[in-house]
């Protein structure tokens, strides 16, 4: 399957782009997507445990199973206010 990753906040810098496409195997989960991103982007790998993933307006668990064409968003540590 192919998914699209939106890189928010500092994760734009870590991944060098606002959008990243990933090709994953069948029955891939959010954890698989993060694993693939961590292989590609060392700065993301260092901070992987601080990054949440959103789909739509939900934060999803790393065990969440992805679908082909799905769009996920990286939510690095927040700094609003």
């Amino acid at each position: 399957m192919r998914i699209t990753v939106e890189c928010h906040g500092a994760s734009q810098r870590w991944c060098g782009a606002e959008l990243v496409n990933l090709d994953l195997g069948e029955a891939a989960t959010v954890a698989d997507a993060l694993g693939r991103l961590a292989e590609r982007y060392p700065e993301l790998a260092l901070r992987r445990d601080t990054v949440a993933v959103a789909i739509g307006d939900d934060i999803v668990a790393v065990t969440h199973e992805l679908s082909d064409g799905e769009r996920i968003a990286l939510i690095p540590p927040v700094s609003g206010g």
């Binding site: 928010h8 307006d57 700094s79």
Partner: protein
Amino acid sequence: MSTSRLRKGALNIAEWLAQPMPPDCGGLAVFAGTVRDVHEGRAVTGINYHAHAALAERRLAEIEAEAAQRFGAQVSVAHAVGELKVGDASVVIVVRSGHRAEAFAACRWAIDTLKQTVPIWKEERYADGAARFLEGTPIKTVKES
């Protein structure tokens, strides 16, 4: 007034005060955060606020609802996105409640919770032309806060 809690550009605080006080309320507490001209010793010229819009809108609404329930108060929360200059308001919290104790408590809880639960990121711009995203705090849910 837009029903959106996430607004493009600096917030105009007066907009959130235009609504009359409910007759059973005696205390109005407001907090606004504004862009400062210095951070960690560096001269700041502005902040570009980024957000995950859908999740941020949801979380801002959850903060209002949770604050209303915890403190028995009427709470409005708004946050700016985009480029703000020094002195511009990036966040406004308005609380209307029976008495001042709950008004202060709800206002303080709302801003502290917003900073931990809403997917917004500060990209600071410096006088020397540099820009960087600030280190933040891993996002929590409103119920955890």
